[in-house]
Amino acid sequence: MNPFIVCEHVDFGYEDQDAVIDLSLEINPGDYLCIVGANGSGKSTLIKGFLGLLKPTAGRLTVSEELRRGGIGYLPQQTAAQKDFPATVYEVVISGTLNRRRNRPFYSHTEKNMANKSMERLGITGLKKRCYRELSGGQQQRVLIARALCATKQMLILDEPITGLDPSAIQDFYSLIRELNQKDQMTIVMVSHDVRNIVSQANKILHMQQRALFYGRAADYAGSLAGRKFMLTVHGAGKTE
């Protein structure tokens, strides 16, 4: 199968600032790619590029026809305003089908079915009529994943998904994502700070600092120079806190 996304020496920038420099990578169907790096290292910018919200300033970023047709499920960082938003779980989930419908004003049967299936897949059908703001962090996360699944059958992009989850919810979340990756053949691209867990979850790792410091198999990352340094700083910082 063709790769979903190919970057060849891609640069991204805002005004006079380079956010991503000379990045080359390939995302193949079935990949579980994790993007790590310090704040401001260009991770979110790269994701915007994948989603087609930013154009590269140099190089070439190719998104396969297949991926473009099937759509990408995106899970953005949660905002403070969302935490107490008055919306039912169903309303949130079905808004994921929005990319399929350009200018029709109302949802059709197909979309309602998709939303129901997606909720079933994540085991939140029982929460359908509940209010989003009354759910726990882990449940809210599941709702947002269900919404993202409405938008795609092939690729999820998650931006710092575990922020604000408690430890048991984090483990739940990782096993859910692994299941989606292995059982449902979902391609996963995740931005995260949680390096320790990531190494055991993902199969590919991209460590960014504007440029790619490391790009390769997750198993090799722990042994690499970039990986050792990063894990040391992240965990060191964690201990002093």
């Binding site: 995106y74 953005p76 305003a81 938003f85 008055p86 919306a87 039912t88 929005l98 009354e134 919404r147």
Partner: protein, 275 residues
């Protein structure tokens, strides 16, 4: 009460005020749902002060008040939105600054030219005499537009309000909807502020949705409830203002306040019953 309403309807200027005001409150409430949830409530307040500044200039120069203030306030809406989106500037502080400046500018212009006439004071605190025939027609057109927007673009408005990043990734033009909502808010404020007063108009935007959010748990419920509630509160406020001979703007705000307290009590009660 029925007699009093019948008596009110015999005055043409009161009928105009009722129709125009109900249309404006409906628009304000619907737009308010999106603004409040996106943490843009301050924009409504800022716009009303800018609108005051623009109106004072219009009065001083003798131009038509609507022709001057609608474009100015729409521009200000656009600008305030940019400020709020740009995280480099502290949005709320900038809005507070701009609204104070606009107010001060309006007062200076007025006192240098006409002096603080009744016109200007009625802009500050509202007057039910303000609704002209043209205003009523314009507010009906505006509310038709806002209603259409909420019926036909409801799903997109939900997506943009709940999660801009996701909406953007789904191919919804977030910028377009933000600007549309800001400009419609600007027009709503200009139309409503001469009746409600610059100091009080932002309550029409903020109160109904906050009140609806006490009890309703779905976006649809909140939107519908706040629209209905706003029209109802406006009407009751007008009747109260007529019966007690108090300024309409203030009495409408107090009725809204009472509704908010009532709904809060109901939501407390619901929690208690569910336990």
């Amino acid at each position: 009460m029925v007699n009093m309403v019948g008596e009110m309807l015999s005055y043409p200027f009161l009928v105009r005020a009722l129709i125009g005001g109900m249309m404006v409150s409906l628009c304000a409430a619907l737009l308010g749902v999106s603004l409040v949830l996106k943490r843009y409530s301050m924009i409504g307040d800022g716009l009303s002060h800018v609108s005051f500044g623009a109106l004072s200039v219009a009065v001083a120069t003798g131009w038509s008040p609507l022709a001057v203030s609608v474009p100015v306030v729409a521009l200000a809406a656009f600008f305030l939105l940019r400020i709020t989106e740009n995280s480099k500037v502290k949005g709320d502080a900038a809005i507070a600054m701009i609204s104070a400046c606009a107010l001060a500018f309006g007062i200076v212009v007025t006192s240098l030219t006409t002096g603080m006439s009744t016109d200007v004071s009625s802009y500050m605190f509202g007057s039910i005499l303000a609704m002209s025939r043209g205003d009523v027609i314009l507010s009906c057109a505006l509310s038709a537009l806002v209603l259409c927007l909420f019926v036909f673009c409801y799903n997109k408005i939900f997506a943009v309000t709940f999660d801009e990043s996701f909406a953007k990734a789904s191919g919804v033009s977030v910028k377009f909807y933000n600007i549309l909502i800001a400009v419609l808010t600007a027009v709503t404020i200009v139309l409503g502020m001469r009746m409600m007063g610059a100091m009080l108009i932002s309550s029409l935007i903020i109160f109904p949705s906050l009140t609806a959010m006490r009890v309703w748990k779905s976006f649809r419920g909140v939107a519908i409830c706040s629209g209905v509630l706003s029209v109802l509160c406006f009407f009751l406020g007008m009747v109260l203002s007529y019966g007690l001979s108090i300024p309409a703007g203030a009495s409408i705000v107090l009725v809204n306040m009472a509704a908010f307290l009532l709904f809060s009590a109901v939501s407390r009660g619901l929690v208690f019953v569910n336990r």
